[in-house]
């Protein structure tokens, strides 16, 4: 048991750590497993101190093999455990694809509903930290396209704290994306608040209200888009009122909330770091267009990565959507 609970300004990494701690305390079946999650506390320190407090049968340093991590987590789940797997970096989830896509996602359906697979796969994602290749990927679209999974992304400390607990409490497999370049950003988290009163994990949240255009984003791009909205409001040029919606749930999408906003504003921009081509933004754009066809003043525009591998870090500022590229897209929706 941690002593203190109540409001505190926590980094996103720390908020996850506290959320994991609560989950470990609450349910002895919760396990944490992955590479370097024990003494090291993970390369981002998200699991810092947990092995010390909960022991090495509950916080498990595994052999170096992602398929093994997810595959054995499935087995543990079948035995009644609730494993939370850490994939060290986004690019290293791919060796586990078969276990995630063919096994984890489909096993409940295969069993005709007899089995449940409460496995959480935590993936630090996205760029912006000056890392080498394979450490800055945004693979959410692969999993969003995979039926049987839930896919969520937290964008700030309070969501990190509650959503990781909600993900662990869910009886469905959850791919949980953590915006790695936001790990060190602080925000107020009320660790005393009742989890049951929190916004459900599959609901979007309007983080900034506005009237002229809806900007949809998630994970690391939430802050970028809020900054863009502030600049658009307060900046030198023509003032625009941007509504920023943090999707939080990538599969399923909170279509109701999205459509309600776009119907009101008549314009929509989707922002993510992953390549635009066949990215999640495509789904959002297609769906928004279907649902809001007569309300749209312009096509839904997408801002995201290029159809190239993630570039070396000295070029990543060009690859990653930033305030300017978001505002450029916003401007273009007005030019239609």
């Amino acid at each position: 048991m941690t002593e203190k609970s109540g409001p505190a300004r926590l980094t996103l990494s720390r908020a996850l750590n506290e959320g994991l701690r609560r989950a470990l305390e609450r349910d002895p079946k919760v396990l944490i497993m992955g590479e370097d999650v024990g003494k090291l506390g993970g390369v981002f320190r998200v699991t810092d101190g947990l092995q010390k407090d909960f022991g090495d049968t509950r916080v498990v340093d595994t052999p170096l093999a992602e398929s093994g991590i997810v595959g054995t987590a499935i087995g543990l789940a079948l035995r009644g455990y609730r494993p939370v797997c850490e994939i060290q970096f986004d690019g290293f989830v791919f060796p586990a694809t078969n276990q995630i896509v063919n096994q984890l996602a489909k096993m409940r359906a295969r069993s005709g509903g007899h089995l449940k697979l409460p496995v959480v796969i935590r993936i630090p994602c996205g760029g912006g930290i000056g890392a080498v290749e394979h450490h800055s990927e945004s693979p959410e679209a692969y999993f969003a396209h995979t039926a049987g999974l839930r896919v969520v992304a937290c964008g700030n400390s309070p969501d990190a704290y509650t959503m990781i607990q909600q993900a662990i409490a869910s009886d469905d497999p959850v791919i949980f994306f953590e915006p790695k370049r936001r790990y060190w950003e602080r925000a107020e988290v009320d660790t005393g608040a009742d989890l049951s009163s929190a916004l459900p994990m599959d609901r979007a949240r309007t983080v900034m209200a506005g009237d002229d255009v809806t900007v949809l984003c998630y994970g690391p791009m939430v802050r970028t888009c809020v900054e863009a909205a502030i600049a658009a409001r307060d900046g030198a040029g023509e003032a625009r009122s941007i509504e920023v919606v943090d999707l939080r749930s990538l599969s399923p999408l909170d279509t109701g909330a999205i459509a309600a906003s776009v119907r009101r504003t008549g314009r929509c921009v989707v922002v993510h770091e992953a390549p635009v081509f066949a990215g999640l933004g495509a789904e959002i754009a297609a769906r928004v267009t279907e649902e809001c066809f007569y309300h749209l003043e312009a096509p839904v525009l997408r801002v995201g990565g290029f159809s190239t591998p993630y570039p070396p870090s000295r070029l990543e500022e060009h690859y990653l959507p930033d305030l300017d590229r978001v505002l450029d897209a916003v401007d273009r929706t007005f030019a239609f």
């Binding site: 595959g71 054995t72 543990l76 079948l78 005709g112 599959d202 399923p252």
Partner: protein, 402 residues
Amino acid sequence: MTVNADGAAAAAPYPAAPAGPPGPGREPEPAPELVQLLTPEGEPVEHPEYAIGESADEIRALYRDLVLVRRIDTEAISLQRQGELGIWASLLGQEAAQVGSGRALGPRDMAFPTYREHGVAWCRGLDPMQLFRLFRGVSNGGWDPADHNFHLYTIVIGSQALHATGYAMGIQRDGAVGNDPAGADGGTAGEAVIAYFGDGATSQGDVNEAFIWASVFNAPVVFFCQNNQWAISEPLEKQSRIPLYHRARGFGFPGVRVDGNDVLACKAVTRKALQAAYAGQGPTLIEAYTYRMGAHTTTDDPTRYRLQSELEAWKLKDPIERVKAYLVRAHGADAGFFQQIDREADELGERIRREVRSMPDPGPLEIFGNVYAEPHSLLAAERDQYAAYLDSFADTEQEAAQ
């Protein structure tokens, strides 16, 4: 693959590495050893570590299992030919490996099959109808693994080896290992897992990762590899240049090769490996050396890639015949006993044909069932849309009818 006339598969020269002469530092492979308790002729064999421990009744029961699972297989093949099943993966030739290992399992042990373990399913008490639902295309599984401690079939080769290992790690966390096999309960208080896979599966990364996990965590899991000599059209040499049970040496746990057509040896070897697992001694790899006497599945045509003579040689090692011979010779089983089993098989066959033929198709909206444990907005919307779409035809038909 050469097979000696006396059926001693283990003595058959093992295919050498494709290379030339062994180089400096190449260790010669020791002659493979094969645990056998009954010869193909039904003669009991002495073995330093294993012995036939079954009573006459127990052996009769095993014989019954062998005959009945073969009958399930035969019926399935003909039902597939009649279009009642979409496909079938025959176990012909592998009955002893499956019944021997399946009957070695304790009630609390958990089995993770591939797609061919109909004999293990039988031993665990799963109604064969459940299997037919899968092969008919009515379900992708659908039984509750907890009902008989028999997991769902896994079609993607090797994936279940990791599930089995993870499950075994759960057993460890539940404190259900480490019971003393020399103790009062004979080690039966423990729990273990058995993971089935084929010779081809040993090439998958997942199976090797399972070996690593099981070894590092010393998990109570028995890896039961049915080496039926073929992975569809590929002979064993395409997967390994040494005997498969040697693989375990590279991971630091014991490997043993057993005559996979000898139900008593399979049972004894599996039992011992399970007991080691119960007692906290970790994993064992068992290679059941057997033969896939049929096609890979009903859609396969083995004449394209293997010689009839190979099959003929293996027919001499039939897993059922040797038990029959042994029962007659050692336990005085008479024609009446065998007739009774055949009658039971006929009844089973009759029930299978009847029930498979009358198996209803699932309703279309079942597509949307059981994907998620908790409400899912998108799926609910898709379901409603599709239901409305189907209804629109009903309307049209009604209109047309009016």
